[in-house]
């Protein structure tokens, strides 16, 4: 469709005109500019909702909201075209078969061997071994090898040594969805562990010998403590209501040596609504400080984030400081349980704060333990009541921790944002389906590619320059301040206003420091080379000329990353009063802007905004077209041109 206008949320002056394309996998808007044909690419999987608004004099507005919080406002001249686009997008954004998803057509031009290697990058067996199991207290069990015991669990789980197959099976029958207690994290320092399960089917008075034995087995697997904590992450009221439905929670009278604890985290429906309300605040036009703060509080979002964090802190403390094992569950043990176990693990073990470790953590507590990615993130069209930002909340907890402990994580904010992006993008196969069983049935590993390999390949973009593995912050357990701490929770504009670059700090400390680090390294290498040459020279007199040439070459390569600093940006609309006043429009004769043409040198591969080149008020202009002839990897996380073509066409 031609002559479509793309509006900018912050500045109504900056609408651009272009052509809208719909393909099998993307919506693409190409600007009609003569110098740079900027493109905006949106994957259908990312589309959360499409709203057709009332026709105005200028045309028919269409609002596309994405799961990665991008909001695109188009104005289509003809009502009929608008309707066609609307209907098509509705269908395209709601696939019915897995095969419709992008991951089955995405082709990064790797061979079969490389695809396989990509899937092997994260190996859970290795991870459990790293933790220290199997050992005298913990064994691997294949009782679920055909998914016969629990179809949402993996084929291999770790259980206490004294838990026989009989006990496991018996316990599984007493647990919602058969999700029996299994090991999530083992602390070899003191034998304390974090186990996870779903709620027991205890109703008001039912008991199960095997389930009680299972919990005893967990306790016995930790000789250093004579009791275990059982943490129910639901609000007490909800848990009690579940009893009426024949489910519920563990009665301290029936289970010997447990200390039971409720840590109220609200359910998926509350969280879905909370996010909705927060996004409404983000969509306000020119909100006052009051509007924003009220709206944010009203959504309750940060309160929920804090609740998840508090639960993780409680569990980490129990394990690290008290040396007591913890069994965690919620209702079905695949949402709040996953969040809380992974936060606790992250606090406890510095390995999970490395890039590789973080991937492993997600693979373990989210992917292998059957978090329902399809239902929660809408891979396929399904029940809207199943949709909920569960992993988003976990990712935000990590970001909040990164803000409190800037030196403790090997990866940076961009890493988190890109992972969240790909949870919804369905460009890779990691987050498809609802369980390991479903993924194996669909042969995901043979037919799609692994996100982890893609991220790993680009890891230079995801590093935190302040991370040092020998730093005190990176050793041992993290201890976030517990109280007072409300102010420590900040609104994550990098995620929820991701595409409104004008809102973010204009100069990236991360990128600047990475460049400094890189340059220092280059200079050090150069110094070494020169020192060698000097030593050689002192032995022989020849080779003077060679030295000079080498020096000249190298000094061209180094040179401080200056393009970042001469940053021009344009003023946002501070006042309506200036509109009627004759003024230069930003697109004409604005010397600063014209000097900053997007060039390959200036672009940081995976995050265009930080190249400091584009007009940073408009969220649109950063979603730029990058020439496929460039050598860098240009992932599609930022709606730029697809990486598949770009990366693998380069020489």
């Amino acid at each position: 469709v031609e002559n479509v206008r793309l509006l900018d949320r912050l500045s109504s002056r900056r609408a651009v005109v272009g052509t809208l394309y719909l393909t099998a996998t993307h919506v693409i808007f190409v600007e009609n500019g003569s110098e740079t044909r900027k493109e905006t690419w949106v994957l259908h999987s990312q589309i959360s909702s499409i709203e057709k608004q009332a026709t105005t004099a200028t045309g028919c507005p269409l609002l596309i909201r994405c799961k990665n919080f991008q909001v695109i406002q188009l104005v289509i001249p003809q009502e009929r075209d608008c309707h066609d686009v609307y209907i098509s997008l509705i269908r395209l954004a709601r696939p019915v078969k897995y095969e419709e998803l992008y991951c089955f057509s995405f082709n990064p031009k790797l061979d079969k061997e490389e695809r396989e290697q990509g899937w092997k990058l994260v190996d859970l067996n290795e991870e459990y071994n790293r933790m220290g199991v199997p050992n005298n207290y913990w064994q691997i069990s294949d009782v679920n090898r055909d998914y016969g015991v629990c179809d949402s669990y993996p084929t291999e789980v770790y259980v206490p040594k004294s838990a026989t197959a009989h006990i496991i099976v018996g316990s599984s029958k007493f647990r919602s969805r058969r999700r029996f207690p299994a090991l999530s994290y083992y602390c070899k320092g003191n034998n304390a562990s974090i186990c996870r399960s779903s709620q027991p089917l205890s109703g008001f008075s039912a008991r199960c010998l095997e389930d009680e034995q299972m919990l005893q087995a967990i306790r016995k697997a930790n000789p250093g403590s004579d009791f275990i904590y059982v943490v129910d992450t639901r609000p007490k009221l909800n848990a009690m209501a579940n009893r009426a439905a024949g489910k519920g929670y563990e009665n301290e009278d029936n289970y010997s040596n447990i200390k039971f604890q409720f840590i109220g985290i609200e359910n998926i429906h509350v969280m879905r609504n909370s996010l909705q309300k927060m996004l409404e605040v983000c969509e306000l036009k020119s909100p006052s400080m009051s509007d924003f703060l009220w709206g944010l509080e009203n959504s309750g979002w940060l309160k929920h984030i804090k609740a998840i964090m508090d639960a993780g802190i409680f569990i980490a403390k129990a394990v690290a400081e008290e040396g007591v094992s913890v069994l965690v569950h919620c209702s079905d043990g695949w949402d709040r349980t996953a969040q809380v176990c992974s936060v606790a693990s992250l606090l406890l073990d510095p390995y999970y704060r490395t890039m590789k470790g973080f991937m492993v953590l997600i693979e373990k507590d989210w992917v292998s333990f059957g978090h329902k990615f399809n239902h929660r993130y809408g891979n396929l069209d399904g029940d809207p009541k199943e949709i909920s930002p569960v992993i988003d909340q976990f990712i935000e907890c990590v970001w909040q921790l990164m803000e409190q402990f800037p030196c403790a994580f090997e990866f940076n904010e961009r890493f988190l944002i890109h992972i969240q992006h790909h949870v919804y993008s369905c460009q890779f196969g990691n987050f498809l389906c609802n369980s390991q069983k479903e993924r194996r049935e669909l042969k995901i590993k043979e037919r799609t590619y692994s996100l982890w390999a893609h991220l790993w390949k680009n890891r230079a973009d995801y590093l935190n320059p302040l991370y040092r593995s020998d730093h005190s912050q990176t050793q041992g357990t993290l201890h976030p301040q517990i109280a007072p701490c409300n102010f420590l929770y900040k609104f994550w504009s990098g995620m929820y206003n991701r595409f409104e670059k004008g809102l973010h700090p204009r100069q990236s400390v991360t990128d600047y420091l990475m460049a400094v680090k890189e340059e220092t390294q280059q200079l050090e290498e150069e110094l070494e080379v020169l020192q060698e040459r000097l030593a050689n020279l002192q032995k022989s007199q020849s080779g003077d000329n060679k030295v000079k040439n080498k020096q000249q070459q190298r000094s061209k390569q180094t040179g401080l990353y200056t393009s970042n600093n001469s940053l021009a940006n344009t003023p946002q609309e501070y006042s309506n009063d200036l509109k009627s006043f004759p003024s230069r429009s930003p697109s004409q004769g604005d010397e600063e802007d014209s000097a900053l043409i997007l060039t390959q040198d200036n672009l940081k591969s995976s995050d265009p905004d930080l190249s400091a080149n584009s007009d940073q008020e408009s969220g649109v202009e950063d979603l730029s077209c990058r020439s496929p002839s460039g050598g860098g990897c240009l992932p599609s996380e930022d709606s730029g041109k697809d990486s598949d073509e770009a990366v693998f066409l380069a020489g």
């Binding site: 703060l293 509080e297 007072p484 204009r506 100069q507 220092t520 001469s566 940053l567 006042s575 003024s583």
Partner: protein
């Protein structure tokens, strides 16, 4: 960029040829200028009853007046007190924290101040127009706007030297009544009618700029905290008194030491520099959307929030930059 106090138009719409002529000389034939009045239109009108007022359009035809109401005095002090109370209230649950923060309105003041300064800067830089800023007295919100506008526009104000010069010029010599404004800080519950944290508001805005442009200022948060401390209680004479006249009468220069002299000693200076500083010759336009304006934790939670991990981060940044 000019500053003044309000014209004494009064209820009888007095005129002053000299004042008109003075403003006239600034603009060439056919040029236009802006007057940014930091009072609301209504407040400015009411000021006439007390002998003040605004520049009537007919007498100052080349100047267009814009009103940007910035709070000063009692409301601003109340806002400050409420914020400090919210920050130090241990019983506050997460559910109530944001509404307490909001009801203090402090961040709203920060947003308003930055917006107005940006407006002034925009008039100068984008519209190529001269700007006159005034409120009532010309000693509070006026200085806030002119000082911030210069930081936004002029890279030399962002150097350590330049910033000191800016403070000296736009706050001290311009006659901000420090002694009256910075007597009790947040523990003043309505006693001193003249108490108001304008200077703190300015420092907060500067901090917001440093957060949005971490490479653009040659100095860091430590300098801002030091300035805040010294405005209220100081071993130096720089912030004493309410005007140059008072300082002269008290012989401040003969009897006290200068804060700047101390700051500029090489050993001290080091501590105030921003390791990330890179000279940026261009104008820096901050975002004034609510998401972009954050609570200055380093000041308001200075004694409440543990700073160890953040300090370590800065040390690491220092190490990286020095290593280079």
């Amino acid at each position: 960029l000019l500053r003044s106090s309000q014209p004494l138009t009064g209820p009888n719409r007095r005129r002053c040829r000299e004042d008109e002529k003075l403003l006239g000389t600034i603009l060439d034939e056919g040029e236009r200028g802006f007057i940014i009045d930091t009072r609301s239109a209504q407040a400015a009108k009411q000021a006439r009853m007390g002998g003040g007022g605004t520049e009537p359009k007919s007498s100052y035809p080349q100047w267009r007046r814009l009103h940007r109401a910035l709070d000063r005095g009692r409301p601003l002090q109340e806002s400050f007190v409420r914020l400090v109370e919210a920050c130090s209230d241990p019983s506050l649950s997460m559910e109530r924290w944001l509404s307490r923060l909001e009801s203090s309105r402090w961040l709203g003041h920060v947003k308003a101040a930055l917006s107005t300064a940006c407006l002034a800067a925009q008039c100068l830089d984008r519209e190529d127009c001269s700007v006159l800023v005034h409120g009532a007295e010309g000693t509070d919100t006026t200085l806030l706007v002119t000082a911030l506008a210069q930081l936004i526009l002029d890279p030399s104000c962002r150097t350590l030297q330049g910033f000191q010069g800016l403070l000296q010029r736009e706050w001290i010599e311009a006659g901000h009544p420090f002694q009256l404004r910075c007597a009790r800080s947040a523990s003043s519950h309505g006693r001193g009618k003249q108490e108001a944290p304008l200077f703190l508001l300015f420092l907060d805005c500067v901090w917001q700029l440093s957060r949005q442009f971490p490479l653009a200022l040659e100095f860091g948060e430590r300098l801002l905290l030091t300035l805040f401390d010294n405005a209220y209680a100081s071993a130096y004479g720089t912030f004493l008194g309410n005007s140059e006249k008072e300082r002269s009468l008290c012989k401040v220069k003969e009897n006290t030491h200068s804060l700047w002299a101390w700051l500029n000693q090489p050993e001290e200076k080091q501590k105030f520099l921003n390791p990330l500083y890179s000279h940026n010759p261009l104008v820096i336009w901050p975002s004034v959307e609510p998401q972009s304006i954050q609570l200055w934790q380093g000041l308001f939670l200075r004694w409440i929030r543990p700073s160890q991990h953040l300090d370590e981060a800065w040390e690491e940044i220092q190490r990286l930059v020095e290593g280079n």
